[in-house]
């Protein structure tokens, strides 16, 4: 299911909880719905995958995620009867959120929205530049480029970051990764030289 449709469902579910007087749970589900609104064209499964990488935000007020997660099995059982794929997505979401149950829903949603909101070309380039000497972070951003950008945008990032003209998305990714890989090669060569001189 697309994130946009899922967000609509979660908002409706949150409304229902609010009308039933379950305000903390309603608030938590509204916050979760915001996460899916941030990446409307993505699949729910893709968004859930990103949720696993969110860095824990600082504590703020409001209900915890656990208050929402607690209702997920019931929602999944109920909705899944009508539409199995939706039930599966609810279950997937609950699984993704479970490790963060102790966090405040609103703060977590803010952090997730910041991570999921589309980046500009400049942001991709800046993030890649900043991560040049940090292999793990560079790989993370590179994967985002791979997943999130189509050919025209990937070409622009390759030109701005690696100063190379790409003809295909594969070319663009090669150029971007190549700049990082060349620095890794330099570091490896220096380690092999071990401070010795060539004489």
């Amino acid at each position: 299911m697309k994130a946009k449709e899922f967000a609509k469902f979660l908002s409706a579910f949150a409304e229902m909880l609010g009308e039933a007087g379950a305000s903390p749970q309603s608030e938590a589900w509204h916050a979760i719905a915001r996460i899916f609104e941030a990446r409307p064209s993505a699949q729910v499964s893709d968004v859930c995958e990103v949720l696993g990488t969110i860095k824990s935000p600082g504590a703020t007020g409001g209900p915890t995620l656990q208050s929402a997660i607690a209702l997920a099995p019931a929602a999944q059982r109920c909705i899944g009867l009508a539409k199995k794929s939706l039930g599966d997505d609810i279950s997937r979401l609950a699984e993704a959120l479970r490790p963060f149950g102790y966090l405040r829903a609103a703060a977590f949603a803010d952090a997730a929205v910041a991570q999921l909101s589309p980046w500009s070309i400049e942001t991709y380039v800046q993030e890649l530049e900043a991560a040049l000497h940090d292999s793990a972070r560079f790989t993370e951003i590179f994967n985002r480029v791979d997943k999130e950008l189509k050919l025209p945008a990937a070409k622009k990032v390759a030109l701005a970051f690696a100063k190379g003209k790409a003809k295909s998305k594969g070319d663009a990714l090669d150029l971007i990764w190549g700049r990082h890989a060349s620095l890794l090669g330099t570091a490896a060569r220096a380690r092999a030289t071990g401070g010795r001189t060539a004489a």
């Binding site: 330099t186 570091a187 490896a188 004489a199």
Partner: protein
């Protein structure tokens, strides 16, 4: 102790320094030389074993022995104290070097020399001296066109051999042995280039470099061979004779190359803009910095990295970016730590048929005509000279 194991011992030590077969050859000669020295003086030269012990392989975590710190950083490193006349401008010695071959060192040296000589003539300054320290003699051949007069006669060695061996007095370098650079235009007789002289090299230099190093390792410690050229080129007589000295260094860290780095005041590193060459630039800079730390070339200043053989129609953005990354990367991550930068694109020396067409006729720069391509090449050589001049001023 030494006599009983001498050949095997020398062989092992020298095989660590040279390729195996050469090591074996030299080992036999070194052992003979050592025995001769010993018989002459009746005892071992005290420094010889110590110098060679410093080259021995070390234990490593892998269980296999590991190469040591290298020949040229053997202690003690003793830079000479040169008493200089404060009324004579200090020496400007540009070393054009890169441990990778085929990157345009000789072409850059010759053409920069010709441009600086042109400037020296225009402003009434003293001549420019080019020194060829690559035994192939390419710079010598390029600079002295219209004959083979630069080749040493059968019973003599080339200037470079005498230069690194310490045979020459400063006055020899200042007044006598350098040859005027010549070009040949329109098939006529050679024309001397004003204000440009060259000290030539040929294949005897290769032997001389090994000999000087071995003599030093064996205990010839009256003076530090690494600084022989420095003593000569920073002398009052040479400083007074030349406004600038440019040294074409060989693509290996030979005796000549080390003497050049120890003598140099500035370092220019030519490179091709491709992946292996840019790797080699960074590795070379790291080696120079290692020598600097050890006190071998403390005074040398990086002018920068000069791109050569650049296709004027090519797109080099990717290669430039990667080279800049490597140059700027911290030394802890294998980079050059920002000590040198890639010189601006206006200084790039383009690939040009002019270099091929002027082969045998002398240095390309003074032979360039008036066409569009010649004008572009002339401009880039002038831009490079200006960039070097700014750094050296």
């Amino acid at each position: 102790m030494f006599q009983s194991t001498s050949h095997a011992w020398w062989s092992e030590i020298l095989q660590n320094i040279f390729a195996k077969s050469i090591g074996e050859l030299i080992a036999a000669r070194a052992a003979m030389l050592f025995r001769a020295v010993k018989s002459l003086f009746g005892r071992s030269p005290p420094q010889a074993p110590q110098a060679l012990l410093e080259l021995q392989r070390a234990r490593s975590g892998s269980g296999w022995p590991r190469e040591g710190k290298g020949i040229w950083v053997i202690d003690p490193i003793s830079p000479p104290k040169i008493e200089s006349n404060p009324h004579i401008p200090s020496a400007k010695i540009l070393v054009v070097a890169n441990a990778k071959g085929g990157v345009g060192k000789t072409t850059v040296t010759a053409n920069l020399g010709a441009r600086f000589a042109e400037l020296a003539k225009a402003s009434g300054r003293k001549p420019v001296l080019l020194i060829d320290l690559d035994f192939q003699g390419s710079l010598s051949s390029m600079c002295v066109a219209g004959g083979l007069g630069w080749l040493p006669s059968g019973d003599r060695d080339s200037n470079a051999t005498h230069l690194i061996s310490g045979d020459l007095a400063a006055t020899d370098v200042a007044n006598g042995i350098a040859m005027p650079a010549t070009i040949v235009k329109n098939g006529s007789h050679p024309i001397q280039l004003s204000q440009l002289k060259v000290l030539t090299a040929y294949y005897d230099l290769a032997q001389a470099e090994n000999r000087v190093m071995i003599e030093w390792l064996l205990g010839d410690r009256q003076y530090d061979v690494r600084f022989r050229l420095a003593e000569l080129l920073h002398s009052n007589a040479v400083r007074e004779a030349f406004s600038l000295i440019i040294i074409d260094s060989p693509p290996r860290l030979t005796t000549g190359a080390i003497q050049a780095l120890a003598a140099g005041t500035h370092l220019l590193i030519p490179t091709i803009l491709d992946e292996p060459s840019s790797e080699a630039v960074v590795t070379f800079i790291r080696q120079v910095e290692r020598y600097r730390e050890k006190g071998l070339c403390q005074g040398i200043k990086h002018v920068g990295v000069a791109a050569t053989m650049v296709d004027p129609r090519g797109d080099y953005g990717v290669e430039e970016t990667r080279l800049r990354d490597r140059l700027a990367a911290p030394t802890a991550r294998g980079g050059a730590g920002g000590v040198a930068e890639l010189l601006p694109a206006s200084t790039y020396i383009h690939q040009s048929a002019a270099f091929r067409k002027t082969g045998g006729k002398g240095i390309t720069y003074p032979l360039l005509g008036e066409g569009h391509i010649a004008a572009r090449l002339k401009t880039s050589i002038r831009e490079l000279a200006d960039a070097v001049n700014r750094e050296m001023s």
